[in-house]
């Protein structure tokens, strides 16, 4: 078992455990923390795959901004442990099987078609930030600008939503 594989399995376990605990935890804060763990683990995986910039962004934006926002809102609303209501019979009985089915389908599809994938590039072959930025500002410049617009709209929306009408 080579070092990268070892690291992969460590991080993967971490991620899966985090996801599971996200589900099992009863308090939103704990769920949020679990999710952060998942994200950090994923960032590690990205590094392992050589996508260093994405890894950094993952931590900065997801870990540092989005999840902080979540935690912040949880604290703001002073959310307490979720009550285990079961009003939705459908979800109660059909939820697990369907989720398993979905996962199974995806996994099956991957397992079937993984043969078709080309041999992965040697781990640690970094995609330099330069390359990404070149792509962003040349080939993907329109989507890029659109995202900026999207963010603007989102900001306005958030303001409109959050302000108390006086």
């Amino acid at each position: 078992m080579t070092a990268p594989l070892l690291i992969f399995f460590v991080l993967a376990t971490l991620a899966v455990l985090g996801a599971v605990s996200l589900i099992l935890q009863r308090h939103p804060i704990h769920s949020a923390l679990s999710l952060i763990v998942v994200m950090v683990a994923l960032a590690g995986l990205y590094l392992l795959m050589g996508a260093e910039f994405v890894a950094a962004v993952q931590i900065i934006v997801y870990g540092g901004a989005i999840m902080v926002l979540f935690v912040f809102v949880i604290m703001l609303l002073n959310a307490e442990e979720e009550e285990r209501t079961n009003f939705s019979k459908l979800a109660t009985y059909a939820g697990i099987p369907l989720a398993v089915a979905m996962t199974g389908l995806i996994a099956a599809a991957i397992a079937r078609s993984s043969g078709a994938l080309p041999a992965p590039a040697p781990s640690g072959a970094l995609t330099s930030t330069k390359t990404l930025s070149m792509l962003l500002f040349s080939e993907f410049v329109y989507p890029f600008e659109l995202t900026s617009f999207l963010i603007l709209v989102a900001i306005l929306g958030a303001i409109v939503l959050a302000q108390r009408e006086s």
Partner: protein
């Protein structure tokens, strides 16, 4: 050397867990987090593909996904705050009037 299918399977598992979370959690915020989890799973798949294909496009897409997720979080949390204010509850099962 980690084969790409490992990453893909991992992302599938995470995605499935996200689904489970979305179906089984009652707290709106946690639901939201489950969605983020699914997004992350997809990101992982993207990066894995882009690595195995040796092309950076996947990573670009991940960047876009992250941006969208950020916007979504901003608006979504705003909505959640509003709902919590009006309904005095974060439990989605108590918020089933489809109107305020």
């Amino acid at each position: 050397m980690v084969p790409t299918s490992h990453y893909l399977l991992l992302s599938a598992i995470l995605f499935g867990l996200g689904i489970v979370g979305f179906v089984f959690k009652r707290n709106i915020i946690t639901l939201f987090m489950s969605i983020e989890l699914m997004l992350n799973a997809v990101n992982l798949a993207f990066v894995a593909f882009s690595q195995s294909l040796g092309k950076p496009y996947g990573e670009v897409f991940v960047l876009f996904v992250i941006v969208v997720a950020a916007a979504e979080a901003a608006v979504g949390l705003g909505i959640i705050i509003l709902t919590a204010r009006n309904r005095r509850s974060l439990n989605v099962e108590r918020v089933d009037l489809l109107k305020l």
